[in-house]
Structure formats: structure tokens, C-alpha cells
Symmetry: C2
Subunit: 235 residues, 2 copies
């Protein structure tokens, strides 16, 4: 059996094992709906929202969800950015210049274009930037731990959360995906995902339980672990 086949099978088994215990996902709430608007107004942890919304982007390639999320968070944190010829003398992170020699040495752009980034690959690529980050796989965590950590980060200046989840598990079409969280609404126990696949889905409010289940799934490119989330803050 080839390594990739083994990884694929391990991934499928993990998905099967974790989805067997899950409930059907709750309805997602569209950010643009009246209910979504009220959730933002009432959200108790939304400090992350304003800098992220100021730099929200649409991923520029089907496999660039991680790349887009990274550019967005770096701009939100006001990390010193590379030059952009068309905007000289101003500087900003784009989905082009956020990939550089340092990221190429970790995972090549060609590889990202072909199959995207697993959670650990994404963390390794992001770690080439001047940020502090920690990786959390859902299978070594719990829903309560995730909710507490994410809420803490969303309420603090220059602290960000990026989630890596299986779209199907929250009732959307598609496979694995990365996007930043921007706020938490306690009454409904929902997080706001600023989904970078803007050509496909609007930002949505998802229940913490559904999101955690969707992170607690196997990535077919990786064996023996699950998707999860990144916590990012200043260096």
C-alpha cells in the first residue's frame, strides 16, 4: 500500500469515526441576514472582527484558503508588509507576496496550488512570519477548551483564530477549508467565520459544537490526527 493510500484510508477512517457520533449540523446563519446582523451587534467577543473586516479578502485560487487567511491576519496585525509595485510606495500583504523564499522552503507554492495546506503545513508556513502561534488539533482538545480559548483570543487586541474544518460537516459543499474566526455570540453559542471563499459562501455564524465537530475530522493528506485551529498573536 502506498504512503498516500495509507494516509487516505487513515483519513477516511477518522472522518467515519468522528462523523458517526455527530448530530446533523444546525442551520448556518448568514452574516448578511437580519439575524446575522443582530448577532454581530450583540456579540461579546468581537475585538478581532474590526481589524479582520478591514482586511477581509477573497482567496485568489481554489487552494489558497490558507494563503488568503494568512495575508488577512498579517494585515490585521499590522505586521510590517512587503512592497507591492502597483501600490508603491505603500506596502501590504497580498496573496502573491505573502508567499516568499521562506514559505517556499517549507511548502512550495506549486504544492499549495495542487492540494492546499494541512493544518500542520499551514502552521509551519505561517511560522516563517514574525508572529507567535500555536496549533491545536481537535482530537487532542475538547469543545469546551476550544470555545474558551477562541473566545479569549477574539476578545483581545492583536489575537486571532484561524479554523481548519471540513465544510461538509457544517452542511456546506466542499472539503477541508481554512478561514479566520471574527466574533463569538454567547446566546446562540455561535462563532462568525469570515469565509475567504467569498465566490462561494458568505460569512456565516456556526454553532461552536458544529464547528468543533467539523474540525474533529481527518484530513486525507495526513494520518493519525485531525483538523483543528491556529491561535496567532504578536511576536
Amino acid at each position: 500500500m502506498s504512503t498516500s493510500t495509507r494516509h487516505l484510508l487513515a483519513g477516511l477512517l477518522l472522518v467515519s469515526a468522528t462523523s458517526a457520533v455527530g448530530e446533523p449540523p444546525s442551520r448556518l446563519v448568514d452574516f448578511r441576514s437580519d439575524e446575522g446582523e443582530q448577532f454581530l451587534v450583540q456579540a461579546e467577543a468581537r475585538r478581532a472582527y474590526f481589524p479582520l473586516a478591514s482586511h477581509f479578502v477573497c482567496q485568489e485560487h481554489r487552494s489558497f484558503c490558507g494563503v488568503a487567511s494568512m495575508a488577512m491576519v498579517l494585515n490585521a496585525m499590522q505586521v510590517s508588509a512587503p512592497a507591492v509595485p502597483e501600490l508603491a510606495p505603500y506596502r501590504t500583504f497580498t496573496q502573491t507576496n505573502v508567499l516568499d523564499a521562506a514559505t517556499e522552503a517549507v511548502v512550495s507554492q506549486a504544492m499549495i496550488r495542487e492540494q492546499g495546506l494541512s493544518l500542520d503545513q499551514f502552521a509551519a508556513v505561517f511560522a516563517t512570519k514574525p508572529v507567535t502561534l500555536s496549533v491545536h488539533h481537535a482530537n487532542t482538545s475538547t469543545l469546551d477548551e476550544f470555545r474558551a480559548r477562541a473566545c479569549d483570543y477574539l476578545a483581545r487586541h492583536d489575537h486571532f483564530v484561524i479554523v481548519n474544518y471540513l465544510r461538509r460537516a457544517i452542511g456546506q459543499e466542499g472539503g477541508g477549508h481554512h478561514s479566520p474566526l471574527a466574533a463569538y455570540h454567547r446566546e446562540s453559542d455561535r462563532f462568525l467565520i469570515l469565509d475567504v471563499a467569498r465566490y462561494k459562501y458568505p460569512p456565516v455564524w456556526v454553532t461552536a459544537a458544529d464547528l468543533f465537530s467539523a474540525m474533529n475530522t481527518g484530513d486525507p493528506t495526513v494520518s493519525g490526527t485531525t483538523r483543528g485551529y491556529l491561535l496567532v498573536s504578536g511576536k
Copy 2:
């Protein structure tokens, strides 16, 4: 005297005439500040905010403020979009594909890159898309008329306002600029500009009076009129 020199002088005289009567601009309120956050929460006309925030972009060229604003509003209105090879089979407006043969016939991309778009040029380019739009020059309008019309649009589904103003007149560095408005906060009498030059400035809350004064300025590329605003809605 050449036509361009005449236009330049006419523009300068108009700027001089209008700025002579103006007060110094009020302090701008950063969208990301605690005060900016409260303004959004309390805003009474903010229906435009949610679809626009879902498609907020950074202009990709120093002269693409109009191009970026147009792509943003078309996506917010969910107008049927062109294909994007990297995102196939999905479709969305980008700052590349929003310029096409129809816009090229009105103002060439080369010209836009060289000097941007005046208000009337922007309206003519935008009119090639399936939208209803009207152009309002500040010198043929009043502050009260502008406030009433803009508030009405910002509170309605699929109705958008794009302003064309002189940055210097609101206390920022730079010349003429286009960006969408997203909300109105009555108590402070301020509009939220989702500034597409995200490499340079955050979204800001500006007083209606300052914004109107900044629109009531001459564009050096056009004679005999002033900047102003576009009202855009569905076809």
C-alpha cells in the same frame, strides 16, 4: 492655452473657491477604534454594510479606487459575475475581470491606470454593467439633499452609494478618491467610508458636512463641475 491647462486651472479655481468657505475638517473616527465599533452597533442606516463588508477589497493599483469600488458593489448586489479561471467553476467580480470590452470602449484600462476616473467617467464605465445608477455632482446639490439620499440608500436592500471626494479636504493625504459608503450614524452625523485604499487608510467615520465639502471640490481633469456621488441599485 491647451485644453488640459484650461481644465487644470478651472479645477484649481473650483477647489480654491469651495475650500475657502470650509471649516477645518473634524477628526476622523477609525472603524477599528472603540468609538468606531460603537458607531456601527448604533448605526441606523447600515443595510448596505453587510453585503459590502462581505466583498470589501483593497484596490490593486494606485488608480483603481473606482475599479475596486465597482467590483465590490457588483458582488454585493450579486450581479451575475464573469468566470475566474483560478476559481472555476465559481464566478465573481475581480478588479481584473470587471474591466472588459464594454468598459474599454468607454475609458481604456491604460487611461484608468494613468489617471484614474473622474466621477462622470466612473459613472459611464459603471453604466456598462446591469445596474441602475444616477450621478450627483456636489455643486448641483446640497448637504441636506446628500444626507437624505445617502441615508435612504444605505437603509435599503441592494442600494449603494459610492462617493468621489478629495482626501485632503477630510484631513487625509492624497487627491481625489472613490469608495463606497456603508452606514450612517445619526447621533454623530457621520458616514462610514469603506476605503478601498486599505494599504493606506482604515475604514473611517466622517461627518456628513466634511464629506460633502470634500465632494464639493473640483477634479483637475474636469472643468466646470465638482466631485460628488453615485447612487447604484438593481436593474
